[in-house]
């Protein structure tokens, strides 16, 4: 369905020295620097799969999505979707995909939403009957009815995102690209959008590629994730594999009776641990201890803590994908994927 092989994108950037003088200098004698935004990324996605594409800010997620959707031409490498190469024969290719960029709307600012869909119907050449059916389905999963007569500029962010997702699905695409579809939304709207994505995936076996910073999205929607950092792939596999592979990172939280007493705790010395195996953070009230459960057992850690200080509250958290990813982002967990 989707094949990405050794995909690479470089941008040329002019280095400017600060100030007006620097600007003038670089105008006459520009110094260029090549920036590699995406470096040698390969992955495959099967039909009907929901793939989570994650990574910290600036990792190159959007650049990959833009290459897969035909917006950017790769510097080298190839990608093939439905047997088509996005940046060649663009018009033909984009008929089969839907794209949503959470950060910016693709709709027409002053057009009423209903008219927006009429325009898209014409652009994608959807016939009247399929259009009616499709609108009914989208109305059901995304609840557009309440604001369909309003101009796009008057919609709230949550409404706009639903409208954008509906717009990307009007022509029943085989692949749906969602670049941060839940950004800036409240918990209820996020939940609705996730449900809608699930329904769409189930209804027509639509392949979905989703980038997000919200790991709830990933845990809810995806079986598999591809993680990239600094333009390179660092993990590709099932979420459960990520958990069992790196799930040794756990977290204990406690609230001490007397914050000054905490200085008596010295986990590293007590258990003879290295820097990467344990880390303590506090917000002045709650202390959180992240530790590698392969190196130190939960029981020992609890016993030591409780015998050294008095606590008001204590709990040990489960292996949480968010914690694992945080660890990977901070490069604490070594990857050999």
């Amino acid at each position: 369905m989707i094949y990405v092989e050794n995909l690479k994108k470089e941008f040329k950037k002019t280095i400017k020295e600060p100030g007006l003088k620097g600007s003038i200098k670089s105008f006459f004698k520009p110094k260029n620097e090549i920036i590699t935004a995406v470096n040698d990324i390969s992955f495959h996605v099967a039909k009907g799969e929901v793939l989570g594409f994650i990574g910290p800010n600036g990792a190159g997620k959007s650049t990959v999505i833009k290459m897969l959707t035909g917006i950017l031409t790769p510097t080298s490498g190839r990608c093939e979707i439905n047997g088509k190469i996005p940046y060649k024969n663009r018009k033909n290719y984009v008929k089969e995909i839907g794209v949503v960029f959470g950060q910016r709307t693709q709709l027409w600012w002053d057009l009423a939403l209903r008219e927006t869909y009429t325009v898209l119907k014409e652009i994608y050449e959807v016939d009247d009957e399929s259009y009616k059916k499709r609108m009914a389905f989208l109305n059901e999963v995304l609840e557009l009815e309440e604001f369909i007569t309003s101009p796009v500029r008057t919609l709230s962010l949550g409404q706009r995102m639903r409208a954008d997702i509906a717009a990307s699905l009007l022509h029943s695409p085989k692949v749906l690209f969602l670049d941060e579809p839940t950004i800036g939304l409240d918990v209820v709207v996020k939940d609705n959008i996730r449900k809608a994505i699930k329904a769409i995936n189930a209804e027509e076996n639509t392949t979905v590629i989703l980038t997000t910073h919200d790991l709830q999205d990933v845990e809810n929607l995806c079986e598999r994730i591809v993680m990239i950092d600094k333009g390179s792939k660092v993990f590709d596999g099932e979420i459960s594999a990520l958990k069992s592979k790196f799930g040794s990172s756990r977290e204990m939280k406690f609230v001490p009776e007397n914050p000054e007493s905490v200085s008596a705790l010295d986990y590293k010395k007590e258990f003879n641990l290295r820097d990467g195996d344990i880390a303590v953070e506090d917000d002045g009230y709650t202390y959180s201890v992240r530790f590698n459960s392969n190196k130190i057992g939960v029981e020992k850690l609890l016993n030591y803590t409780l015998s050294t200080i008095h606590v008001k509250d204590i709990n040990v958290g489960d292996a949480d994908i968010e914690e694992i990813i945080k660890g990977i982002y901070r490069s604490e967990v070594k990857l050999d994927a």
């Binding site: 833009k66 950017l72 960029f101 693709q106 652009i123 994608y124």
Partner: protein
């Protein structure tokens, strides 16, 4: 059938956006009226100065006041029609590319140029169109014109192709933004040369005449075709030149645009 279907679709899309922009016009009445009045004032002052000049001298390089008004009015027609339909090219030069908003046009299964231009119908252009028609209505009965069926056809042809001279110049200059991110000032610089085209080119020196005839050929949007209708002379050069220049500019424009699209770098998000 395929081509008919395409034309039908194009008109349908135009209709939706035109309706939309007319609706907007009703919504922002003050804005529209201020713009239209300002435009009318500018044109009125220009005409006033022309009449002042002609009060002192009976003719300018052999052209009477009414003939000059005819050329002036003629010039406004292609300019306003281009303004009406292809105004969004300015936005390409000023911000659509720089802000990465061009992304959305690339995800649609229609030509990017069509998608960009169809979504704006610049109602401000009605002011220019109105003045242009007014000036033609005033001048035509006062000068000797050979109004034949052929000339009416030639008039329509020259207006259409002259319009695409404007569009071509804007297309080439706005496409530069694909590489430089911003080309608004470049569009402006070349576009403003059209101001010279409203008067007989014979009043300018040779260098300037060469520029507006061969380099940025705005002379073919007004003076040359209009002088054919006034004198009846040299239709091949006066009207044919308009057609040729228009085709060349549009071909170059579309070529540069397509090159630009593949060089497009989007923006971070």
């Amino acid at each position: 059938m395929r081509i008919l279907h395409k034309i039908h679709r194009t008109f349908k899309l135009h209709r939706i956006f035109i309706k939309q922009d007319l609706k907007k016009l009703m919504e922002y009445k003050i804005d529209f009226l201020t713009g239209a009045i300002g435009m009318l004032l500018t044109q009125a002052i220009n005409i006033f100065f022309l009449s002042v000049i002609f009060a002192r001298i009976p003719n300018l390089e052999g052209y009477s006041f009414e003939q000059i008004i005819f050329i002036y009015g003629f010039a406004l027609l292609p300019k306003s029609i281009d303004h009406l339909f292809f105004d969004n090219l300015w936005a390409i030069g000023y911000f659509i590319i720089r802000k990465g908003d061009f992304d959305k046009y690339l995800t649609r299964p229609v030509s990017t140029l069509f998608a960009v231009t169809v979504e704006k119908f610049q109602v401000d252009a009605f002011g220019e169109l109105f003045v242009g028609v007014l000036l033609l209505g005033y001048s035509v009965p006062k000068i000797t014109l050979n109004i034949s069926f052929l000339n009416v056809i030639l008039f329509i042809i020259s207006i259409i192709f002259a319009t695409f001279i404007y569009t071509g110049v804007k297309l080439i200059t706005s496409s530069i933004a694909f590489w430089t991110k911003r080309s608004g000032s470049i569009i402006y610089m070349f576009y403003m040369i059209n101001e010279f085209a409203k008067y007989p080119t014979t009043i300018y020196n040779r260098a300037l005449r060469a520029v507006i005839t061969y380099i940025v050929p705005f002379a073919f949007t007004a003076f040359f075709p209009a002088s054919y209708f006034i004198t009846g002379g040299n239709p091949w050069y006066n009207i044919g030149g308009t057609v040729v220049m228009s085709v060349i500019l549009m071909a170059v424009g579309i070529f540069v645009w397509n090159k630009g699209v593949s060089a497009y770098e989007s923006a971070g998000s």
